[in-house]
Point group: C2
């Protein structure tokens, strides 16, 4: 924990971070009155700079599918959602249009009765766009969704702390769904070269330190009464359950969702103090395009209700 | 060079790479007849995997502004452009709408005379969208632009080689503008751990090898008669010119554009065998939103014409 504080002090944060912090406070304040539960969904990978004047960084594979899809299902279940996501990773709603090239779906509509031409979505794409647009506008009207961006590991940790503290007045109505793929390693500022590493110097030796775990202060201090779900991604199946249990034992939060890189879109395991529950899609569900996040979120919402009723 | 061949053999490439290779061949074949010059513009960073089942990779800061903007100016100068870009980095034309949230600029237009509702761009955004859309449609109609995506360093090198060889029949009409920020270091497959590196094992030691330089075979073998421009990005001003000259001496291509991380949007230096020419934006140009790529591309097009006329 002392480590994590040192991490906050050694980094400097862009102004957008404090703007985002204020938006989170306002959003939570608004939903203190609506009475609906509020989920913080984190999503996407984190960048870890390798140089002071950063040209290179370590990143991870995440484009944020898990987080973006889950956010939509939390909204469907009536939650307000703070979506804390890595800049340029997938976003709820727009992700459905991701495979379309914006300029290919638009056309100029020159109206003979009107001197101004307008731009319309080509009729072929209308049903798809219309569907997403209506849901998005509905969510926006209800002020159900707040989107906050981060880039680096430092910005992520700063905003995670800020959002957690903002959520704490909601007590057990707050839910944290930590789906972002946070880097485990970083190079401390004082050990970073100032300038771009030169390839003419030959092979590169990098020494990275372990990122301090933020789940301890998050659960113990920042938002002690919330319902907290973390994620464990592994590539080795033999480690999945043991690593998930280890995380629960260490941080004393409520759920770990374990998943393997290769199979993460069709099965995950939900691990709590008392049970391990595999959540799977059948072949038929897969072929119909059912998203496993619909089942994960349903299970989490159910567990959150039980958690609130026992409190 | 032997190194680079080994690199190609040790990597495996997705099917999309051969599809892209075929598209490049067709595109060049089409433009052999149109007679216009063809530019290959590379753009964005390259991912370098750190693990066999990749969770982590080394990346660099580039979002591909230089490449995307330059591609537009080459099109304006009448070039056909193969835009070889990192997946999810900036694209020509759509980049102008990047700051807009797609679902915020659209609205449902329910027509009382028509049972089907349509989706239109809100009138506030129409002029901006219309402008980009018309240019894009014009370029598309003339088959002036081919966009090809890559992700990893391996995919980039594969496609760079494929596109270069495809362009070689055009002789000096082909121009290569290598603005992608290619990683200098990588971990060879046989030295990569199979599974995700565990943070519980403590600090991480990484040993990266220098990526074989592809400019030597590119200039000497793949596309020997083309006009080739490479980029040199540094953070230390004292190294910029010497590094740029070194590159020219080593690879025997035509131009190095040198730029510093901090000032790259307002000044670059164009280095050739005979001269160094600083290209700068005045404060007034900066405030008017002039993009430095307009000047870089003008200069390059001029040099390319001279190059062709001397051949």
């Amino acid at each position: 924990m002392a480590d994590l504080e040192a991490f906050f002090h050694e980094d400097s944060f862009p102004e957008t971070c404090t703007e985002s912090e204020n938006k989170a406070k306002e959003f939570v304040k608004y939903h203190e009155d609506t009475g609906i539960p509020v989920a913080l969904v984190t999503s996407g990978g984190t960048k870890v700079p390798l140089e002071g004047n950063t040209v290179r960084y370590i990143d991870n594979f995440s484009i944020g599918t898990r987080g973006a899809v889950s956010a939509e299902f939390f909204l469907q279940h009536g939650y307000a959602v703070i979506f804390l996501y890595r800049c340029r990773s997938l976003e709820p709603f727009t992700r459905h249009l991701q495979n379309l090239h914006l300029l290919d779906i638009l056309e100029v509509n020159s109206n003979e009765h009107d001197r101004n031409s307008s731009v319309v979505v080509k009729s072929d794409y209308c049903p798809q766009v219309l569907n997403v647009l209506k849901t998005y506008q509905d969510v926006k009207k209800k002020r159900q969704l707040l989107m906050l961006e981060f880039n680096t590991l430092g910005e992520y940790l700063y905003l995670l702390k800020a959002c957690s503290i903002a959520l704490s007045p909601l007590g057990n109505r707050a839910l944290l769904y930590l789906a972002a793929a946070v880097s485990d390693f970083y190079i401390p500022k004082d050990k970073m070269p100032e300038h771009k590493i030169q390839s003419s110097d030959g092979p590169l030796q990098l020494s990275l330190e372990v990122v301090p775990k933020m789940l301890t202060p998050l659960v113990m201090e920042w938002v002690p009464n919330a319902f907290v779900i973390s994620f464990k991604l592994e590539t080795d199946p033999s480690l999945l359950i043991s690593k998930s249990k280890q995380a629960l034992d260490r941080y004393h939060h409520q759920v770990v969702i374990g998943n393997l890189l290769d199979t993460r879109k069709r099965e995950v395991v939900s691990v709590t103090k008392d049970q391990e529950n595999w959540i799977r899609l059948t072949d038929k569900e897969l072929s119909l395009g059912v998203e496993i996040e619909s089942k994960i979120v349903s299970e989490i919402v159910q567990k959150h209700r039980t958690f609130c009723s026992h409190d």
